[in-house]
Amino acid sequence: MPVHLTHQLMTNYLIIRVSGELDLHAALEFRHKVEDELARTSSKHLLLDFTALTFIDSSGLGAILGRYRTIRQLPGKMSIFGAGGTVRRILELAGISKLIPLCETERQAASC
């Protein structure tokens, strides 16, 4: 299932909702979408909604870490919510959760 990306601009942050599979191919599209929307909306804080993300591998993790670097330079904050199952396990295994908070809900993610 190819990746599908949508965005929503809130008062204080930008949400990018990622559904499908975040692999090498999708990573490129993800990078462009996030960088474009951050620039276009002048957002500093980024929330990634992984509720409908069904797959991630190390290329997808690389794309997330790359955006983390962008956000830190702004400087802004970044958090992830809705990740479950194997996606969550991989985020934890790779130590992403030490850098970027993994939250259950959008509300939690917006306040950390």
Binding site: F55, G85, I90
Partner: protein, 140 residues
């Protein structure tokens, strides 16, 4: 009796997903759990991604994925005829990568999610990655 399959793809990023779904469907014939199948998908994705990203710099080449399912054992082989890896032991170490922006976690994930990983490679000789995973007898 053992089942086997072979899949040949070009080294393009949009073919990684083709390998992943084909191998997951093949592996589903054994009694792997859903979580096992997710792990196999990650491992296959990493091995094919490596062939796509590293084997043929600036060019396109072939990636051959083959698999056998024999009893409770799945064996997956991912082979390219690309530039090869000068120091396999170094390449397998966590965070080792020759490409900025990549994580150096490909081999780490293959190792974490499969029972066995063998990497056979030499400069100019291409790379063959062989991974094995057994399904455990299901409760019930």
């Amino acid at each position: 009796m053992a089942n086997r399959m072979g899949l040949t793809l070009l080294s393009r990023s949009d073919n990684v997903g083709v390998a992943r779904v084909a191998l997951a469907a093949f592996a589903a014939q054994l009694s792997f759990t859903l979580s096992d199948l997710e792990e196999i998908k990650v491992a296959v994705s990493e091995a094919v991604t490596n062939a796509v990203s590293h084997a043929y710099p600036g060019a396109e080449g072939e990636v051959a994925v083959s698999a056998t399912a024999d009893g409770d054992l799945l064996t997956v082989e991912v082979r390219d005829a690309g530039v090869g890896i000068p120091d396999v032991a170094a390449a397998r170490a966590p965070s080792f990568t020759t490409v900025p922006d990549r994580m150096g976690l490909g081999f780490v994930f293959m190792e974490s999610f499969m029972d066995e990983l063998e990497v056979s490679s030499a400069p100019g000789q291409g790379t063959t990655v062989t991974m094995r995973k057994r399904c455990r007898p299901q409760a019930g």
